[in-house]
């Protein structure tokens, strides 16, 4: 084991370029993954980890080619199992900064079980969930996040399935950190990846990603220049949830327990009436409402929606081992072999 000291500021500041590998990039031109890769490399360079202390673990799918393009330790595993493999990596060496990359099929269909249990255990790692609402690598079948009615190669008459909302699944699994970003917003993605890394525990970062070939424009209302200001709200802890081209729209709590979009200056609404975001509250109720907002009825919430302090699985694991070691008289295998009922044959 390398005796590296972590969390020490890098002596030589790393740049995103340091994380570029020599591998030929095989994503389609125009794929949203390119933007996410740039954002993550930027975040990695800006964080205080050494290059060798990152481990990027992916499953199978377009997004899961990610580790090949980042010059650090990487493991391109098998379909659906990235969360489990990443969990093992982190437990084996809690000093590593583990980033797991999966698509909506990898994380929520074949890997759904591992996803919810990783979140429940709260192992300190970041799960980047690239959500393009389609299977890309297998060339265009519906995914567990595809909207009902969507016509794909395996749903020629429209899907009849209810889609998952990744945030709801994460909250249901008692997630302590959930953020959402857009592939095209490098600044925001970089910021939320850094926030996710800072959080102790399993952090989910859902990146709404565009598949130019099989589901182009899936998120267009919130990415197109003409409409995005009206259909996205970037929320920040401690700040009012204001959005819109004119920065005059806000969210308030309606009498029926639902969020309501209001216009500041109309019907006597002032900025003080707009809800202020509390990402740190343990009660997931508001985080559920915020993360469930869908366009066009609501703006889609982006940014760090939930970030609740917690002790991670790996911290508890390390502590428990230390505690038991301290009180046990068994210090090595010879002690164990000779413990309990034994007898001598002369």
């Amino acid at each position: 084991m390398a005796d590296t000291v972590l969390n020490e500021p890098n002596i030589k500041k790393l740049s995103p370029k340091d994380f570029r590998s020599d591998q030929e990039n095989r994503w389609c031109p125009g794929c949203g993954d390119h933007g996410i890769l740039n954002s993550v490399q930027k975040a990695m360079a800006e964080m205080d980890f050494k290059k060798e202390d990152y481990a990027i673990i992916s499953g199978i799918g377009c997004s899961s080619r990610f580790p090949y393009y980042v010059d650090t330790y990487g493991f391109h595993t098998i379909h659906g199992r990235a969360a489990a493999i990443a969990s093992g990596v982190k437990c084996a060496n809690p000093d590593l900064e583990v980033i797991q990359v999966s698509g909506d099929g990898d994380a929520l269909a074949i890997g759904g079980n591992h996803f919810i249990h990783a979140v429940r255990r709260n192992i300190d790692m970041t799960i980047l969930l690239f959500n393009n609402e389609i299977y890309g690598l297998t060339k265009g079948q519906y995914s567990p996040t595809s909207n009902q009615g969507m016509v794909t190669k395996t749903s020629p008459f429209g899907t009849i399935e209810e889609p998952f909302k990744p945030a709801q699944l994460a909250l249901g699994a008692r997630s302590k950190f959930y953020a959402r970003s857009l592939d095209t917003n490098i600044k925001l993605t970089t910021a939320v990846v850094k926030a996710a890394s800072d959080h102790k525990g399993t952090s989910i970062v859902e990146v709404l990603q565009n598949c130019v070939i099989y589901n182009d424009g899936a998120h267009s209302l919130i990415t197109d220049k003409a409409t995005k200001e009206e259909y996205q709200v970037i929320i920040e802890h401690g700040k009012p949830m204001i959005f819109g081209k004119e920065k005059n729209k806000g969210l308030i709590m309606g009498g029926n327990g639902k969020l309501v979009v209001v216009t500041i200056g109309e019907h006597g609404i002032t900025e003080e009436d707009v809800l202020v975001h509390d990402a740190h509250t343990e009660d997931p109720h508001m985080h559920w409402l915020l993360s469930s907002m869908m366009a066009p009825e609501y703006p889609v919430a982006l940014g760090v929606i939930r970030d609740v302090d917690s002790t991670s699985y790996d911290e508890k694991m390390v502590q428990q081992i230390a505690d038991v070691k301290a009180i046990s008289s068994i210090k090595n295998m010879d002690d164990l072999l000779n413990s309990g009922d034994t007898w001598v044959v002369d």
């Binding site: 590998s21 990152y54 990443a86 093992g88 990596v89 249990h117 295998m333």
Partner: protein
């Protein structure tokens, strides 16, 4: 001590304790075997319990048994047939009568032979009253009422009083075999130290049972089984599952690596995970995964990150781990997959033994996907072969499958405790900072790649399940490269044969019949072959622990015998495998699929038949 009318010296004795699954028969059996081991006998034990935790009381399906075999000579099996059967109720008698030797002794709890219990057990008439048991030495003891009477002033409630009745039968059997009570008295004191009333009650009933047997002269004679001649040393009793867990821990210590176990509970492998979970003091990390797949996947992740990683399971679980096992082969990461085999297919017979996962272990993966397969053969040698599996995995950078089975996993025997310094050091090919590193560059002797652990400066690299170019390790779909890599993966496993011992034969190097076995049938095959050798029969035994690859001298050994018979608890999987490896040799078969071990009797009959055939 007791006044025995007659003492019969015996080389060996088999006792079977049986009752409802809540009757405490496992504990009773364990106490008797521990006491006998302390007395100096060689012992082998086997618990036989229902799959249901609380099977319907009083029914044959709910009977829990514990068989033990102790002797003045070396004991290799828990015994075929019992000299003494303890039956706590009619169902226990019904389920076990066929396992009692002709003219053996049967102790029954007479109180339990009520109309209701007889009906539940499926008896049409009371077997204690008709002549069905006339050929046995039947001892009727009112165990329930005697226990109740004995504890009427104990201050315990009725339920707690009845829980003590297993101690009454234990006391009886102790008297019959002239065993001291002190070990069990100590045990009771330790186990119930917080409950003085319970300690007093159990000790009183134990003594009462002992005195009762003495008073009624439970046997017209007394068995005496002298201590065995056993190699000097410090001993302990150990089950196969515990020995497996300890062997894995020993491999971690001798390789100076942290041990990680990712597993999902499954009968009959769960005790390995439990044993490892208890060893936080030795730094063992156990991860109870959400399923079998996550069990192996977390282990693969831990292996990538530099731990000695293992996963434990049984047949159906191995099937679920198949795809991930392929990833471990492709990425050439060290990993031990323990498969405690049980009766299959599907859920099959979870608590019963079988050897029917052999071909699954050797071949059961997608693609050409070879990995070494090793099998343990006795409860205590699970330690050695678990250690060996770790050694091969780490030295050759490969996943290894270790096969045990329900019979040896749950069975126990005395074990001469090794010193850790007697075990070889394990050196994994870990790459160091400053090394020239290519992920798939290989050393010559074993063709293993180096293990560059995340966190090591300058060795950043990517691996994965896609085919790689040898050396640099980048993804490649080039046809010729796939051939090269497939050949290397095959060769790497073949090279393991240079790092394992040669096969040794028990008996003459040339003979009429060679008995071939593998894994957990060792005890029965050894006993059968030894007994025939004592009768001057021309028969030897070749028992395999290294399955894939086979020891290098296998063909040479096979060539020295006129007939070869492969015995296994499946439909002929090892025989099939040997036929495909040695196409000119004829292999006879003896197979059984009953969820039970072989009996020495059936094996001797089969071997005699083969010896007599022209």
């Amino acid at each position: 001590m007791s006044q025995k009318t007659k003492i019969i010296e015996r080389e060996e004795v088999v006792i079977r304790f049986s009752g409802d699954s809540g009757d405490g028969m496992q504990l009773t059996g364990t106490q008797f075997s521990d006491t006998s081991a302390l007395f100096g006998n060689d012992v082998a034990t086997f618990p036989d319990y229902p799959a249901e935790i609380r099977a319907p009381q009083g029914t044959v399906g709910g009977v829990s048994g514990f068989q033990l075999h102790f002797g003045h000579q070396e004991i290799y099996t828990p015994g075929d047939y019992a000299d003494v059967l303890v039956a706590m109720n009619p169902a226990a008698l019904k389920a076990n009568l066929k396992w009692v030797k002709a003219s053996g002794t049967i102790i029954v709890n007479e109180d339990s032979f009520t109309d209701k219990n007889l009906e539940k057990a499926g008896y049409e008439s009371d077997p204690l009253l008709d002549d069905k048991l006339a050929d046995y030495n039947l001892i009727k003891a009112k165990v329930t009422s005697l226990t109740r009477e004995c504890l009427k002033d104990s201050g315990l409630d009725q339920k707690s009083i009845l829980r003590c009745k297993n101690m009454f039968t234990l006391g009886m059997v102790y008297w019959m075999f002239d065993r001291p009570l002190d070990h069990s008295e100590d045990f009771i004191e330790k186990k119930f130290k917080k409950y003085p009333l319970v300690v007093a009650a159990n000790k009183k009933v134990l003594k009462a049972g002992y005195n009762f047997a003495k008073t009624i002269e439970a046997l017209p004679y007394n068995y005496s089984v002298a201590p065995a001649k056993i190699r000097k040393g410090l001993y302990r009793n150990i089950t196969g599952n515990k020995a497996t867990a300890w062997g894995l821990m020993a491999a971690a210590e001798r390789s100076n690596l942290e041990l990680f176990c990712g597993s999902y509970p499954i009968t009959p492998a769960t005790e390995i995970l439990q044993e490892l979970a208890a060893r936080k003091d030795l730094g063992v990390k156990t991860f109870q995964a959400e399923d079998e797949i996550a069990g192996i996947c977390t282990a693969i992740g831990a292996s990538f990150a530099g731990n000695f990683a293992v996963t434990t399971t049984s047949g159906p679980g191995l099937a679920l781990k198949t795809e991930a096992a392929g990833l471990a082969v492709m990425t050439e990461l060290p990993l031990v997959i323990v498969n405690v085999q049980r009766g299959g297919p599907s859920t099959g017979l979870p608590t019963k033994t079988e050897q029917s996962d052999l071909l699954q272990a050797i071949h059961g993966r997608s693609g050409e996907c070879p990995m070494p397969v090793i099998a343990a053969s006795t409860p205590s040698d699970c330690f050695h072969y678990a250690f060996e599996s770790g050694r091969i995995a780490l030295e050759h950078m490969t996943p290894v499958i270790l096969l045990t089975d329900g019979f040896i996993a749950n069975g126990a025997e005395p074990w001469r405790i090794p010193k850790m310094s007697e075990l070889p050091e394990i050196v994994a090919p870990i790459a160091k900072e400053g090394d020239e590193y290519l992920p798939y560059a290989r050393e010559e002797k074993r063709l293993s790649r180096k293990w560059a652990v995340p966190g090591t400066k300058g060795l950043e690299h990517r691996i994965g399940g896609l085919e790689k170019i040898d050396g640099v390790g980048t993804v490649s779909y080039v046809p010729e490269n796939h051939q090269v890599m497939s050949d290397i993966r095959k060769k790497r496993v073949e090279l393991v044969a240079n790092n394992i011992p040669e096969l040794k034969v028990k008996g003459k190097e040339e003979a009429d019949v060679l008995v071939v076995g593998w894994g957990g049938t060792y005890g029965h095959l050894t006993t059968a072959v030894r007994e025939l050798q004592k009768e001057e029969k021309s028969i030897s035994l070749a028992h395999f622990n290294y399955i894939f690859p086979l020891p290098k001298n296998t063909a040479d050994i096979f060539s020295r015998y006129k007939k070869i018979i492969v015995c296994e608890l499946n439909d002929g999987q090892f025989a099939e495998y040997l036929r495909s490896s040695f196409q000119d040799i004829k292999f006879e078969q003896h197979n059984k699929l009953m969820g039970l071990p072989f009996t020495v009797v059936e094996l001797k009959e089969r071997f005699n038949q083969l010896l007599e055939e022209k």
